[in-house]
Amino acid sequence: MFDMLPSLDFAALIDTLHVESVFRAAVVLILGIVLTRLVGRGVGRMVEVRLSAQEGMVTRRLITWVLGTLIVVTALNELGFDLRVLLGAAGVLTVALGFASQTSASNLISGLFLMAERPFVVGDYIQVDDRTGEVLSIDLLSVKLRTFDNLLVRVPNEDIIKKHIVNLTHFPIRRVDLKLRVAYGSDMDHVREILARVADDTPLCMTEPEPLFVFLRMGESGIEFQYSIWGTRDNYLDLLNSMYTAVEAALRAEGIEVPLPKRSVVGARADEPVRLDTHPATRD
């Protein structure tokens, strides 16, 4: 019976060693959590000066995840787990998860690209497909917009990366194009003088860059042209509305006709078929 006693000492020894491992793993975990928080806060303060709030948050999260993973792996190592087995299992799991979450992963990577490229920032007004709205947030998976009719639109980052985005507020000033038409026979020099006077009398219309007059075409109903003026991005709508109204009023006041679309229709007798003239085909 006493021959069995040495084996009892060995069991006690194993037990002691196990407790020590658990203790060491716990210390690693506690210190690791404290360290992760400290590093997260420190990096957060450093990046908030140079990066946007959104980018700062993503950076802090990334640091937390990377450090957290390292700490858990170290703690498991201390407990005596064979990490090769874990890594193998993780590999298989990653492949399975990868297949299952292709869309999320694609959005995530697109989100990182968006943050690096910065085609817009929170507060900008952008146009995606037929949606226009203010950017509320740029998250890892999606961009959230508030449309002008106060709806929340969630656009996946993958879509944003693939599609054409128009940032309406990136530059401080923008051009307003007025498409106008006057009747044939109008004095175009006089029309240009009227337009210049209206622009001059509108404070929101910038004197520089100068307004631009561009002849477009001899249209069906009149002479078509474009008058392009510049204003600040904040005044875009006010300028657009006030200029159309003012230009129309000024043209009418000066006796310049602003024609409606016209089409001449020649009627035929009801009891006769409509006559079609045929022309011989042109030969090369």
Binding site: F171, P172, I173, D200, T202, P203, L204, C205, M206, T207, E208, P209, E210, L212, V214, L216, Q226, S228, W230, G231, T232, N235
Partner: protein, 273 residues
């Protein structure tokens, strides 16, 4: 009895308004009616004519009929003060003026350019109180000052050309005159197509004839670019005669900072249809 249409009488300063009465100021194109009630002051503002319209009537008691488009504001008080303080001040953005014809300043030369700048008006209940109302005497047009439509600064257009002779500068109640001494220390000629006057950094001084002047501004160009060092004197130039200090600048400039003050017209490269 004060003559409300005396052109020498300054429109700023302390003005008494009896309870229940209205006083109207005609400062160039601006019409400003202020009515004092027991617990509120009502301000009606509208404009007539263009930016350079002449005329001045101060605290006119004659009743007026504002147009429907007039702006109207009500300001509440525990007890309305028996007098109000009107103060002139420079524009809240830089003012850009351009010479009538292209102007070049040879290397190592200097010249004085006179610029007429639009004014703003503040209404206060006491001299040391914060303003409860502020407006432009005539809203100037916006303009862009910078090398491109992507980079630059939002400014006001002066409406009048920068002049080399003071006689050619319109002296009006609704505008101030600034004398800008440009010193080209660079070895390269300065092509002056547009001049940006840093109006928010300028104070106002009243001359004996009742008109307002900014202190003398010196723009010192050392390099070959469009930037210059800004130096502000304490007083307007001698041409203004004897002057009295009226109001401080809106902002203080950073000492020794370079300002982009000389500009060219934007080229047409951005004007694709």
């Amino acid at each position: 009895m004060n003559d409300s249409s005396d052109p020498r009488r300054p429109w700023w300063g302390v003005h008494e308004i009896p309870l229940g009465e209205t006083r109207t100021w005609w400062i160039g194109p601006l019409r400003l009616s202020i009515t004092r009630l027991a617990h509120e002051i009502q301000i009606t503002r509208w404009t007539e004519g263009d930016a350079l319209a002449p005329g001045l009537r101060v605290a006119d008691p004659e009743p007026v009929d504002p147009p429907a488009s007039a702006e109207f504001g009500r300001f509440g008080f525990e007890e309305t003060p028996s007098s109000i303080h009107l103060l002139p001040l420079h524009a809240d953005r830089p003012v850009v003026a351009q010479p009538e014809y292209p102007f070049h300043l040879p290397a190592r030369e200097s010249a004085t350019i006179y610029v007429s700048t639009p004014l703003w008006l503040q209404v206060r209940s006491r001299a040391d109180a914060l303003p409860f109302y502020e407006t432009s005497l005539f809203r100037p047009s916006d303009t862009w000052f910078g090398p491109s439509t992507r980079v630059g600064e939002l400014c006001y257009a002066s409406r009048t050309a920068a002049r080399l002779n003071l006689e050619n500068v319109p002296v009006l109640a609704q505008r101030a005159v600034a004398a800008v001494h440009v010193r080209n220390r660079s070895a390269k000629r300065l092509d002056l197509e547009r001049l940006k006057l840093p109006a928010p950094f300028l104070s106002l001084h009243a001359a004996g004839d009742g008109h307002l002047w900014a202190e003398r501004v010196t723009l010192l160009r050392r390099g070959n670019d469009d930037a210059a060092e800004l130096e502000l004197s304490r007083r307007p130039p001698g041409e203004a005669g004897t002057t009295a200090y009226v109001h401080a600048a809106r902002e203080k400039p950073t000492r020794g900072a370079l300002l982009r003050t000389f500009g060219r017209m934007l080229n047409r490269i951005d004007d694709h249809v």
